[in-house]
Symmetry: none
Subunit: 80 residues, 4 copies
DNA sequence: ACGTTTGCGCTTTAGC
DNA sequence: GCTAAAGCGCAAACGT
């Protein structure tokens, strides 16, 4: 077996692994859409649901930023 | 327990289920990035790899389209 | 004057207008970096400054999302 | 007025100046998108336009590089 | 100077 | 089919 073949084989494995993960991700995405559809069939508005999810995400991010900022201040003041 | 409470509870469950799936999706995405990083450390160019994956995906789509078309014909002709 | 020439001229004007706006944008970006540099020379940490700005932006976004959500609820309940 | 207050005030001014410049930048960005929308409504493909602008930009960069190189030589030779 | 990491812009996809 | 939003890739900025 030549080096070139070995190398190509390695690349092929990487590519196939990534493609498999992409399929997995797509599957999860379909599950998400299924959940939205299910909720919609129960009378919930998907648009509002997305806004709520977005808002909760923003709140989480803001809180994490707060903590990071505090941490940075502490580092700058030599408090560890 | 009032109807309103039941409804809110149901909505909450949908929201949390979707948020959980979002986390799952994010995890898979991180795995993908890990694979790219691993490939990069082996000397492969991630940008080129993405192009390859895209091309293979397009080919796959074309092939699936062909298969769907064939299936449609078969259905139309009563062959199954 | 042919139609083709007229069309090309119009496209050219669009392109040049956009390129000019891009230059303008780049100029503003340089002003921003100048401000960061000025602040840094006064002893302020650009990293912390960026975090503060980011945080204030997140807060603004969250507030806007809140208002949008409220508005959507009102629409759904037929309150205008 | 304490030093701390002075410092905070100065930081605040920097932050607000940068936020104002960010708004300005965002405004220019919106103008750009407006131009693209206008071009699109005239039948031009924004995607292709972006490719053209990118190409012209690359050419310009190469030209600027040449000019910088020339400048470097001039400095090295004491010509200014 | 390089590598890492974050922010910004584009592309694509989902909803109307 | 179009508009709007979310995810992704790229590039610039920071730290080492």
């Amino acid at each position: 077996m030549t080096d070139a073949t070995t190398t190509d084989q390695q690349l092929r494995l990487f590519i196939e692994a990534i493609e498999r993960l992409n399929s997995e991700k797509q599957g999860v995405q379909e599950d998400i859409q299924g959940k939205f559809a299910e909720a919609k069939s129960q009378g919930y508005d998907p648009k509002i649901m997305r806004q709520i999810i977005k808002l909760r995400s923003l709140d989480r991010q803001a809180r994490l930023e707060q903590e990071m900022l505090l941490e940075t201040y502490k580092c700058n003041l030599g408090i560890d």
